[in-house]
């Protein structure tokens, strides 16, 4: 293998310096303020790893145990910090292993830059060892991607990558860099990207649309807000709170919008969608004005579109013009950045309280409480429920924890019952529903916010999809709290089998390993709880532990998540049992 020594001959001019492509990559990352990146080495990216070695006091590379883990860690990092997550991998299998995480980041609008090594440019298209067309493969799941074959393209392309990833509606970008471009020397100079000619990240806001929105809101008798991650991504939490408080509008969230305002806020009426709360789902079909803010009317939120909020005038605030009228026809679309739009909306609104309307939410909450919540939180039956575990975590973290959940029943329960005081606290795979997301995402979240308590909640199924990241936790000493709610089933699928496939439990029962022994194998403190009486002490031990901690809770095997909107049903036909 060719080894490059470039210490000599630093032909420096005032603004440029002669360095290799791979060193330039590191310098670009530093210039973008990257302090942590997640990745896995291999042949085609080795020159960059060599530079990472030299720059290890400036930039921390985290060796994950799988490239998918690297992407989810970068996502967790981005989701809790609002910064761009970065991951890096080699060509071929390294690159293809990134795809799930990239697709997840794309559908959940997570800013991420992925750097992949590629075979030498003279080998492109020759089916060379570990050559794969990752630009082609990743095209449908990236906001933007490109391939670099010359070192001189590196600064401009990486600057563009970061700019595109974080501006406007954020998303993942992938930059594929051939090995020869990594070795090649050139005169390096870095300029941050300030704009791309063909790309307008934030559309102009039409003042008339704001006025029209305000008028509809001011005249509404029964307005309902449904907000999504756009409030968090736009850093508009304060503006949002001011708007809902002034206009007194009951406000419900999508799972990615959760935590933008505290759970305990009196105007927070809970979660919409398939397993959301009863009141906001039912009342979606009774409101007279539906105000969607930074959300995209996902089918898991709307149920059957033909009977979704048909009686209501719809106002849609969004930064992405392509979302307007995509699923739900809007009466007023307010394009633009959520922070600015909400700020400008505020003075146009009349103060209001909508007392009677609020009472309807309270009444329906009571029904949900009696039928569902009471049994979830205070069960009288023997088996531990998932919700009980969340309740205990809420109590012991005082609602200050960031909850990173995986995908399945436990995720819905976590979103329904976790209490949040701070924004950016609900980190979960929403749009893609990627099992295996939580453990690596929790690593990224904890590393980005070391002062926050980060509690991961996974099922026995999803946990095993990225369980290898325990190795990363051990090696990096990341003090995440790992909770597995073990029902010995792929519970969410089993629930559907029970309800819609006559209990034919095809391939959903799991024979599980000794999870505690596995955690201990990675030198992580671990415990298993099987009885209710031990739960409190176990959660306390976990929260009090300074290092990482693994807690397995054996929960009831065939518990179901309710309420539930069956596929194809209307939001107002949500089932309580």
């Amino acid at each position: 293998m060719e080894v490059k020594t470039e210490q000599n001959n630093p032909k420096k001019t005032s603004t440029t310096e002669r360095i290799s492509g791979s060193e330039a990559i590191i310098k670009c990352l530093l210039a973008e303020g990257v302090d942590i990146l997640y990745g896995y080495p291999g042949g085609a990216i080795m020159p960059v790893y060599d530079e990472l070695y030299k720059y290890q006091d400036k930039i921390h590379h985290v060796l994950t145990r799988h490239e998918q883990g690297a992407t989810h860690s970068a996502q967790g990092y981005a989701r809790i910090s609002g910064k761009v997550g970065v991951c890096i991998a080699t060509s071929g299998p390294g690159a293809t292993n990134l795809v799930t995480g990239i697709a997840d980041a794309q559908i959940d609008s997570t800013p991420m830059v992925c750097i992949t090594g590629q075979v030498g440019s003279h080998l492109l298209g020759s089916d060379a060892f570990q050559e794969t067309d990752i630009v082609g493969i990743s095209t449908p799941v990236t906001k933007w991607n490109c391939q670099i074959t010359k070192a001189s393209q590196i600064p401009e392309m990486l600057a563009k990558a970061f700019y595109i990833a974080k501006s406007g509606r954020p998303g993942p970008v992938l930059v594929d860099i051939t090995k020869d471009a990594q070795f090649e020397e050139f005169d390096f100079e870095y300029k941050k990207c300030k704009g791309v000619r063909s790309y307008k990240p934030v559309p102009d806001t039409d003042e008339n649309s704001l006025k029209a929105a305000a008028e509809l809101i001011n005249n509404a008798k029964q307005p309902l807000i449904v907000w999504g991650q756009g409030v968090i991504l736009g850093k508009a939490e304060e503006e949002f709170k001011a708007v809902i408080e002034k206009a007194g509008i009951p406000s419900a969230w999508t799972i990615l919008g959760a935590s933008a305002i505290p759970t305990s806020h009196p105007l927070n009426v809970g979660m919409v969608g398939m397993h959301g709360n009863y009141a906001p789902n039912v009342l979606t079909n009774q409101c007279d004005v539906l105000i969607a803010i930074g959300m995209r009317f996902d089918d898991r939120v709307t149920g059957n579109l033909a009977s979704y909020a048909k009686q209501a005038k719809v106002i849609h605030f969004d930064i992405d013009p392509a979302e307007i009228d995509k699923n739900v026809k809007t009466d007023v679309a307010v394009l633009g950045d959520s922070k600015a739009s909400l700020k400008n909306l505020l003075p146009l609104l009349n103060p209001n309280s909508h007392k009677e309307w609020h009472q309807k939410f309270k009444d329906l909450y009571k029904i949900e409480y009696e039928k569902v919540i009471k049994n979830d939180l205070h069960p009288t039956k023997e088996g531990i429920t998932m919700a009980e575990v969340l309740k205990e975590i809420n109590i012991q973290t005082k609602g200050d924890a960031a909850i990173v959940s995986d995908v399945g029943q436990h995720q819905m329960i976590a979103c329904r019952y976790a209490e949040f005081n701070k924004s950016k606290s609900n980190i979960t795979s929403g749009g893609l529903g990627t099992m295996g997301f939580a453990l690596p995402a929790a690593i990224g979240a904890k590393m980005a916010a070391p002062n926050r308590e980060v509690v991961m909640i996974a099922g026995d199924g999803g946990y095993q999809m990225t369980i290898q990241e325990l190795g990363t936790i051990f090696q990096q000493k990341v003090p995440v709290k790992i909770v597995v709610l073990n029902n010995e089933f792929l519970g969410m699928v089993r629930q559907w089998q029970q309800l819609f496939f006559d209990k034919r439990y095809a391939s959903t029962e799991m024979t599980n390993p000794d999870f505690v022994a596995i955690a201990k194998g990675y030198h992580i403190e671990a415990q298993k709880v099987t009885e209710r009486k031990d739960l409190k002490a176990a959660v306390k031990e976990m929260i009090d532990c300074e290092g990482p901690y693994f807690l397995e809770v054996r929960v009831e095997k065939e518990g179901n998540v309710f309420p539930m909107i069956p596929t194809g049903a209307s939001v107002s036909d949500i089932r309580l049992e």
Binding site: G195, A322, K326
Partner: protein, 176 residues
């Protein structure tokens, strides 16, 4: 109207980029929309390419597609037009045995009446070029097919709009 299939000609102004064709065709492909024809070329602005795509879809679908296309980072602007809003042409080539040109009187008449042009003739074959609207080309095809066509190919549609496009102003606006 919004829910009936119609023919739309989509004009997309883009940066020059190798991967963009993939991104744009995927937008149609994902939704199982057949592209009737696709053409890419330089545009009136240096460094800016222009895609011309013909599709048969509803206007409601068309609007969503337009949004998805414009969302691509390297797309400057996408427009869609109905048949009466554009001037368009398609072009085609016929390769035909040379002997027919001399043996079959009819062929010469057909060529003259259709405003087709002979590009080249040699002993073996001659090549005929015709630009026009799709129906004119279809007609010519049917007429010549009677005698036998060695090769035939038709280009994608190219179109200009009756209205102004204002791309230059847009580009300037992007740059402030």
């Amino acid at each position: 109207m919004e829910n009936e299939n119609r023919q739309f000609t989509v004009s997309i102004y883009t940066e020059n980029n190798i991967g963009l064709l993939n991104r744009i065709s995927a937008i149609f492909q994902r939704r199982h929309m057949n592209i009737e024809s696709l053409n890419t070329s330089p545009s009136e602005i240096e460094g800016v390419s222009r895609f011309t795509i013909v599709v048969n879809i509803t206007e409601a679908q068309m609007k969503k597609i337009q949004g998805q296309i414009e969302k691509q980072v390297e797309v400057i602007k996408a427009y869609y037009h109905t048949e009466d809003e554009i001037i368009y042409q398609e072009s085609c080539l016929f390769k035909i045995k040379s002997e027919l040109l001399f043996d079959e009187r009819q062929i010469q008449n057909i060529i003259r009446e259709s405003n087709a042009r002979i590009v080249t003739v040699n002993k073996e074959f001659f090549v005929l070029e015709k630009s026009g609207r799709k129906e004119e080309i279809d007609l010519l095809y049917r007429e010549l097919n009677v005698f036998g066509i060695m090769q035939f190919t038709r280009s994608g549609r190219v179109a200009v709009t009756k209205d102004k496009m204002k791309i230059s102003t847009l580009l300037e606006a992007f740059q402030d």
